[in-house]
Symmetry: D2
Subunit: 434 residues, 4 copies
Amino acid sequence: MLDQIRNDFFEGKIKTQDLETEVFVRLYKSDPGKVAEACRDAAQLRCELLEKKSGKSLPLIKGAKMDNCSLVEGKTILSGIELKIGAAMIPMGYAGPAKIRGQYVREDEEIYIPLATNEAALVAGVQRGLKAISLAGGLKTLVHFDGMSRAPLIEAPDIYAAREFIEQIGNNPAYISELQACIPDPFVKLKSIEPYQLGVKVFLRFVFATGDAMGMNGATKAAAEIIRYILSKKPDWRLLTISGNLCTDKKNSHINILHGRGKSIETEVFISNEMLAKVFKPGVNGRSVEKVVFHKCYLGSCLSGTISGFNVNAANTVAAFFAAAGQDLAHVVSSSSCFVQAEEVNEGLRFTVSFPCLELAAIGGGANFGTAREVLELLGCGNRGKTPEDNRSVKRLAEIAATAVTALELNTACAQAAGYEMADSHVRLARGEK
Amino acid sequence: MLDQIRNDFFEGKIKTQDLETEVFVRLYKSDPGKVAEACRDAAQLRCELLEKKSGKSLPLIKGAKMDNCSLVEGKTILSGIELKIGAAMIPMGYAGPAKIRGQYVREDEEIYIPLATNEAALVAGVQRGLKAISLAGGLKTLVHFDGMSRAPLIEAPDIYAAREFIEQIGNNPAYISELQACIPDPFVKLKSIEPYQLGVKVFLRFVFATGDAMGMNGATKAAAEIIRYILSKKPDWRLLTISGNLCTDKKNSHINILHGRGKSIETEVFISNEMLAKVFKPGVNGRSVEKVVFHKCYLGSCLSGTISGFNVNAANTVAAFFAAAGQDLAHVVSSSSCFVQAEEVNEGLRFTVSFPCLELAAIGGGANFGTAREVLELLGCGNRGKTPEDNRSVKRLAEIAATAVTALELNTACAQAAGYEMADSHVRLARGEK
Amino acid sequence: MLDQIRNDFFEGKIKTQDLETEVFVRLYKSDPGKVAEACRDAAQLRCELLEKKSGKSLPLIKGAKMDNCSLVEGKTILSGIELKIGAAMIPMGYAGPAKIRGQYVREDEEIYIPLATNEAALVAGVQRGLKAISLAGGLKTLVHFDGMSRAPLIEAPDIYAAREFIEQIGNNPAYISELQACIPDPFVKLKSIEPYQLGVKVFLRFVFATGDAMGMNGATKAAAEIIRYILSKKPDWRLLTISGNLCTDKKNSHINILHGRGKSIETEVFISNEMLAKVFKPGVNGRSVEKVVFHKCYLGSCLSGTISGFNVNAANTVAAFFAAAGQDLAHVVSSSSCFVQAEEVNEGLRFTVSFPCLELAAIGGGANFGTAREVLELLGCGNRGKTPEDNRSVKRLAEIAATAVTALELNTACAQAAGYEMADSHVRLARGEK
Amino acid sequence: MLDQIRNDFFEGKIKTQDLETEVFVRLYKSDPGKVAEACRDAAQLRCELLEKKSGKSLPLIKGAKMDNCSLVEGKTILSGIELKIGAAMIPMGYAGPAKIRGQYVREDEEIYIPLATNEAALVAGVQRGLKAISLAGGLKTLVHFDGMSRAPLIEAPDIYAAREFIEQIGNNPAYISELQACIPDPFVKLKSIEPYQLGVKVFLRFVFATGDAMGMNGATKAAAEIIRYILSKKPDWRLLTISGNLCTDKKNSHINILHGRGKSIETEVFISNEMLAKVFKPGVNGRSVEKVVFHKCYLGSCLSGTISGFNVNAANTVAAFFAAAGQDLAHVVSSSSCFVQAEEVNEGLRFTVSFPCLELAAIGGGANFGTAREVLELLGCGNRGKTPEDNRSVKRLAEIAATAVTALELNTACAQAAGYEMADSHVRLARGEK
């Protein structure tokens, strides 16, 4: 039967988007226990077709099975993503134990942080940073904002009508409640509205609580429903776009820096000069690290023309953590925004990192299955909140992510305070030189 | 023997960074044919240790094997990344065939583009965009810059000395040749130097040709050697940091927009209104798409305060392509910078996307092995250039990456030109609703 | 006696900062009716000294008298600015009548707008823009924000203390009242506090109502008093700077765009294509102006890397208006920030300009005396509000300023929609060519 | 006769733009020696008309005479600016002597710097800064770039044609010579072309040498002629706008920071801690000033979202200097861009300021006449270069302007390093308190 399905598929008699369901029905007789198998078969068949067309072989992709399918109403298979052929694999290591003095991670826990990356030296760098942090007594962490935003753009008949509406919204809890009633999803709660006017255009930046989910899908759907409702009462207004890029999703943006998106987090550690010299190299101390951070993360970043890149190499850790933990990799763009500060105080170094917009999920999307789910469980972020306000898992995840980033920032800043070391160690580790 | 190694490892008698080599030597008697096995065993042991410490089970991670180890001088194993425990798996689908009228992709080829993502609707969106492009006769692509940059920061004794040195560099081919001699790596060639002065500080933004490699490691090492040489002749100068963030690596930055980094690429397609209405929805035409793109990608992006985010959702495709093709995921930050333009012309839509700084690799790092290598081979980007100027594979890769991004930009812009569709389709696909 | 004073002054026996008072006492016997004369004499003497030292003659400066001195406690003269030698003179013309359909300017008024500039074509350009606006029925204007900000930066002992304080501030009217009590100036009222945390640093962006004054001095003094009070209760905190550049005063800044500073204003006008062709040139219509504005004010501005320069040439009019009306010329930096939008609608052009942060004064500083006072009176902005909330004069001024800027934006955009005209007319007017 | 002209003018029989010539012909019989009188009369008549219409009196404006008219071909009067009514007057003081160790100012000169401002404390602040600089041996200055840019935007038929043209331009001296031939103005020389492609759009950022002139008019006219020539050979291309905002004129912009505009200048001074404590307050030293500058000019500015505002209050001095010296006040926007650095070195403070884009004129526009001309002569910048490369006067002017700005930056930074002083002194001086 699989051969028959293969034939039909290769001959174009089965549409590629129907393949999972076709296999499920024909080969597995719609047995609900065989959803995963059907999906695996479908992915395999697609790989075979690609191999046939291209003349290339794809053994590893064929062998990489992702069981993220589900069955809808007992009949149709939802394949998670479309036209699935398998999985991409990215090497995963781990760093730890991390010592975190947080609100969601207790000081006495030992946290091991998986990181998926192709970059040699990255895991080792995080590891050395965590070592310094541990010796210094652990990293203080603080999650102080939580909200997922989506900003539709609508058009008023004139500038006065635009303003009148904006003022009606103002700080108006009753109106927020009215709009909340439009949202069918019990995991999405409208927290606030930031309105902006440019001529006759009105941006409404809705901020939602979305529990342990990252919340972009929920926020988009809720925003659409709300706008539908608003416009239903304003016949002379119209929708320009459901997302006016003021959200801002997956682009660098200063509004995310100022107002936050996802989680906003602070981290802080003090390390004595003595400790620094011990973990890093001679010459690494509060003052030399302060100088590196000023020149690189501020003077150089300012000259480069950045809006949020006031850090050493935060995106490296954010990307590795996101890849390991099933996060949306496009969110690396904004989530890697951060401000690193290094100051010589009390014969040591005060090192802080401020993350205004770390977008994270403990449930939903990639967080639900596969290696990512194991990572989340390993990190103790497996609990799934039952309300929009119940977000302990994702906040814990935020503290851990911020810790990993802080560790590498610290390590790389200290490495550069010791001169040429960075260039050398990177290449050495990448090439296996001593 | 493995049990014995496990015991020793659990008891801390074997350092975790030595584990691969230990297994290789003790279990496999340093048999060069058993490197992969040794690494797999080591990853497995680390997983077991994590399971023991955490009480969680990691079957999928344990089962995800990445054979990216290598043997150094027949004795020591280089594990690719440190403390490897396995791999992260991200669902992979594909879109295509794409029709590309490029310089490195021929018009008559059928390109199938693998994309790794957790986001439902993404692959389907790229697919619909590619369909419109195909119907319109294919996408024009143009790679017009290639260069990897690293910008050390050094300090002069005073502003005059700083200037004197900068003017010596100027457009001085002889000096560039002199510096080239410092670079031992035959795959790294110094193309140009962009000097900047801020007070007594001098940033030297070196731009290198690095063949089919992304080139960051080669560029860093070369920059370090060059600076060592320069400073050896300037005893009263000193190194502040080997990377002054003017490179700019893994942070959004306007200098990357203006001067390029990695590859700079343009894409262009004209689609008639008739075709648009056919592929998308009624109401989608040159004028309505132009309006969406202006309001979202310019008016909204400008208000958000961005330096490079003049697009619809480029990071989604960039991230999915990078994850599939073994690229550095931290490069999504800058590589997703692009300018989308949509204009009503000749009863249709001219749609162009400009990518100033797409950082890509056809060899090196994650591009060398595993599922990523299969993806590169499938895309016809498997050839490995033999000189810094031989970069056909990575330029072909650039054309394909830009095509995938253009397809989703086009699709999402058109979807929004049809009103609420985006929100609905996203959620519908994510939730399996009709 | 004046000769004697001159001698003493030239010989250094009188300090230059005491010169006004010295003349007042010795020559005019401290006659309160002779303050202006004393100041004029002092300025003249300083000019003479400069002439003597430099060998250059300064007849025009000597002849330009500014009577902005005042007498303190009957004894000491306060010279307005220090070391006064006279005045700079800038040519002033006017444009008008302007037709404004505002909240503070009535539609049936005829407003004549003085502009001081050295640039030929500027006044003529405003004039042509106003003509088009008048023919179109006048300009809608809307002032929707009023507030002057100052943002001290203080340091907390750790990230938790910083947060705790920020949360105490929150939306806490009682605390705002408590802080208001610190402010001795009856014209300064604390409206809100925007707190930001970066590590252990806390920025407090205070927003004040300051009546008809621009308010920077009042805001600075009030901020200093408030911080003194706050820190008096927090012995382990300290002041880093009374202005942390988040205000943001006299630098371009995106926070001013998002949150406003001074006044936020919208303007709007619709002009039919027929009217455009009549006032401007053939080929100027809604669509061609829309295209110019997109390409210049958005595509080009975005590529240039700006945070607020989404306009044609707003700074020209802002500067000319500020120079004429005695405004702080350093505020041209931020006040010229604006978003121009041009859209083809209903066979015509909808033209809007959004000014997020126009910093203006109807009283205080340069607005109090001289030619500037005459300009303010001429504009009907002579009334001086008696409370922080009484700001009718300055809001009227804002509507007029925004009208002048809108007129030139419109004119220059339309000129460019007609091709080469701009370059030609500029040079022609500057050189007196036909 | 004047009464008759007044009548005719008030009754609308004389167009306001013809008034100067009308008076010249009718009252002064076209006597070439009476141009100034005719213009003064015309300005007076316009004031009278405004007074009549508004019911306000304008004695000071009427009395402020600007003789910036000229006679064209013996017949027509060119009034400098249109609809002139007189002049705006801004109080002028001076600071000095300044000690400058520059390339165009000799160390042994005594420079007195006029500043026109309404802001109390500004001149005194510059004065104190200059005092510290003098005690420290003077300010090193360095002008290292000179060029005025204008960037037209043109449209190619497709992305390949756009690229082909850009590559033709490249570093092509022959082509630059060919284009130079289009420029009739002997004071304008094309130095280089920076081409940028976005899709089918090509920005050509032309950089010109313009001698002692600021050069904007010359550059605009030259750019127009060049584009006319280029497009004459490219029938399928078209002009989008003669200025694509990549110039960038009168908007903040990062390209001006990176590539320079007008003059680029560095200043540097070292002041010992002992000297700092003497001129400023106890507690002011290299370290405390370094801290203020980091927190205010970098940390705060970065958070505010700026592209060029890495300074304390540069716009204050730039505006005051520009108003005094007849510069284009709209250029304060970009010219006030600068990077201040303060570093503790050798028991003292190294203080540098980098000005990437100071736009200045020693001839042309407001620099040609009136109080401004006297200021330029006083500063020793009266010589008028005879070629595009002869720009000694304007470079000298740049050194002096940069010195004034550096002085106030230094003073205000030091004042803030002493805590509350800034707020206090500002208000005290403004209000005449002790």
